[in-house]
């Protein structure tokens, strides 16, 4: 017993705690909302989380390097708009190319952030607070008040959100969800298996030490921002496919949703630690709460934000206290030898 308890890493314990929180949420709402445990609900939450997931994963990478990207929502908006426009102009563009285009545009925006942070040595919160405004302003200027409409988009894109890649029983697994999960999986695997990707964690854990250990910290931070941009771009693409109508407000506030998912997912805001599985669960948890509150008869529309804020806070508090308690228990065991 103690042996197992000792071998499990704190990270794993966090994930278990998070999973239990998710389970508790689902169980609670299933007693409150009729037909809650249904394939439909699965679709609702999975497709809605799919939009946030890539941007949250990108945010997680940046946060792991002890930085933050407040401009992600603006990048999402710019990408959704420009990709929509490009697809309107070139309806024959290959879908893969369209995704690449979206991620490319996002990566460019991320590269600007990255350059300013890594080379310009400007704290990321300042840079991205600035580009949060700048990219959005650019979009307003660029869009010239025209909206991207579904009518102008190629049919494959408009149909994409309903397309299922495969079904497990009654559960449809939609293409957009697979796309988001693929991004998660790729980044998650890279972070645990790829030597180069571990540098994100190393730099976030101790920037000075990273420099001394021969890690090119500025380059790592730069790459983190580019990746975050590209992933925000992927979110932008899914956003475009899902909502079709893109105005200048597209993605407004998404940076906060992403940060909320990351933070609930147990990624340390101080950098250096966190897992993509946690981010996945964080995003799903926040989305589940949000979606469920919408459907809960007992609370009116006006209670939703108040409850959402409190529940996020509760999740984080419980996680922190539980993690600390566990660490303390373990510390005693370890010390007594």
């Amino acid at each position: 017993m103690t042996g197992l308890f000792d071998r499990v890493s704190p990270q794993t314990l966090r994930l278990v705690a998070l999973f239990l929180a998710l389970l508790a949420t689902v169980l609670f709402f299933s007693t409150q909302i009729e037909g809650y445990l249904s394939a439909r609900m699965f679709n609702r939450i999975s497709t809605s989380a799919a939009v946030v997931l890539p941007i949250a994963v990108g945010q997680a990478i940046v946060i792991m390097t002890r930085n933050i990207d407040l401009s992600a929502g603006s990048i999402l908006g710019v990408v959704a708009y420009m990709t929509g426009q490009a697809l309107g102009a070139m309806p024959d563009m290959h879908p893969v190319l369209a995704v690449a285009l979206a991620m490319g545009i996002g990566a460019c925006a991320g590269a600007i952030n990255g350059l300013l942070v890594a080379v310009g040595q400007v704290p990321s919160i300042i840079v991205t607070l600035g580009t949060l405004a700048l990219y959005r302003s650019f979009l307003v200027e660029y869009s010239n008040a025209t909206t991207i409409t579904t009518a102008s988009l190629p049919a494959w894109l408009v149909d994409l959100p309903q397309k299922s890649l495969f079904s497990i029983g009654a559960l449809d697994v939609r293409v957009t969800v697979v796309l988001a999960l693929a991004a998660c999986l790729a980044v998650g695997l890279a972070l645990s298996r790829l030597r180069a990707a571990r540098k994100f964690l190393a730099v976030g854990s101790n920037p000075d030490a990273a420099r001394m250990a021969g890690i090119n910290a500025p380059r790592v931070v730069f790459v983190a921002f580019v990746l975050a941009g590209a992933l925000a771009g992927l979110s932008g693409f899914i956003f475009l496919a899902k909502f079709g109508n893109i105005t200048v407000v597209a993605g407004l506030g998404f940076e906060l949703k992403a940060i909320a998912a990351v933070v609930v997912g147990g990624v340390s805001i101080m950098g250096g630690s966190g897992t993509i599985l946690g981010v996945l669960m964080g995003a799903v948890l926040v989305d589940t709460i949000d979606n469920s509150l919408t459907r809960w008869e007992l609370v009116s529309e006006f209670w939703r934000d108040a409850l959402l804020g409190m529940l996020i806070m509760a999740a984080v508090t419980v996680d922190t206290l539980a993690a600390r308690q566990l660490a303390r228990l373990r510390g005693r065991d370890g010390g007594g030898q």
Binding site: S48, V140, F243, V249
Partner: protein
């Protein structure tokens, strides 16, 4: 008899939309510019607006600045509710006229008059009627609005609730009002939330151009168009496909170009002193004909100029309007 303002005078005017970057306001600007050219104003017509996320505070700021600049008239599509009233009163006191259009100052303080796109009562009736038609005369429907703070949407919803008291609608039940904050993803999720929460829902009524497309897209994506119809206020250009495929067979709107055009004419007349802004005054507005200042029935004690009419779009006429 209607007055016609003398063209060629200097009127410095500001067209202040809720925020910049979306089509309806741009169309209004086109109309206003057209009117300004027609009237040969030697003053300037500025089209400036706040950012979407800073709309209320930004509008107050811009109205204050316009007052400082001694602009003759500010045409305001109010997004700040009554919060802007004090600023508007200060503007009037300093000699800058405030004419609202699209969305009024709810308590009317500080506003010379409101150029109403349609009669708010009748839009309430039309919404009730569209819901009635689409639901087949009976059943549940819900409203997906912009933000809880949007004055015009709130007024329309109130008017609709008023209309629903009529005998004709006794089998029609408004089950919920939710808000998508004029953001695609929130509106989309709220629309799906509605159909999940109310399994017998027949119609989603979205009196917002963002909300209606998002709801239509959501129903289409989930294959619910047969079951739940979407309606409300939408731009034909954005709605055409949903109109044709039956997800949103009916919706309404007016011309924002005309609204801008009329607003400028009325403001010009007011700023040049051709009209005082009193109830009963009539004025001509170029190609749109003659209009009259009247009591605003929806907001006792305030004045409006009623543009009207609006068009109900169906698959018969939507394609023509979309281009």
């Amino acid at each position: 008899e209607p007055v016609t303002a003398t063209p060629g005078q200097e009127v410095n005017a500001v067209l202040l939309p809720k925020f910049l970057g979306i089509l309806p306001f741009d169309q209004a600007n086109r109309g206003a510019q057209e009117a300004a050219a027609e009237l040969g104003s030697t003053g300037k017509l500025e089209y400036i607006g706040p950012t979407p996320e800073n709309s209320a505070a930004g509008q107050i700021e811009m109205l204050t600045t316009a007052t400082t600049q001694k602009q003759h008239v500010v045409m305001l599509s109010n997004n700040a509710g009554d919060q802007i009233a004090a600023t508007a009163e200060a503007a009037q006191a300093a000699g800058t006229k405030v004419v609202t259009w699209d969305s009024p100052i709810p308590n009317g303080a500080g506003e010379s008059f409101f150029v109403a796109q349609v009669d708010f009562g009748s839009i309430g009736v039309v919404m009730a009627d569209m819901a009635y038609d689409l639901a087949g005369g009976a059943g549940e429907f819900a409203v997906l609005s912009a933000s809880p703070d949007a004055a015009n949407q709130n007024a329309w919803i109130d008017m609709m609730k008023e209309a629903l008291k009529g005998d004709k609608y006794k089998d029609l039940k408004l089950v919920d009002v939710v808000y998508g904050n004029d953001q695609s993803e929130e509106s989309y999720n709220r629309a799906l939330g509605l159909v999940d929460k109310y399994p017998d829902l027949k119609v989603i009524m979205a009196p917002t151009t963002v909300g209606i497309v998002a709801a239509a897209k959501a129903m289409q994506d989930e294959g619910l168009c047969e079951k739940v119809k979407v309606s409300g206020l939408g731009l034909p250009a954005e709605m055409v496909s949903y109109s044709l495929n039956g997800c949103a067979p009916q919706f309404a709107l007016w011309s924002f170009v005309d609204l801008g055009y009329l607003t400028y004419h009325a403001s010009y007349a007011l700023a040049t002193g051709a009209i005082k802004g009193e109830v009963g005054e009539e004025f001509t507005a170029g190609r749109m004909g003659t209009f009259k200042i009247e009591e605003d029935p929806g907001r006792p004690g305030t004045k409006r100029v009623l543009m009207g009419p609006f068009t109900v779009y169906t698959k018969e006429n939507v394609e023509a309007a979309a281009n």
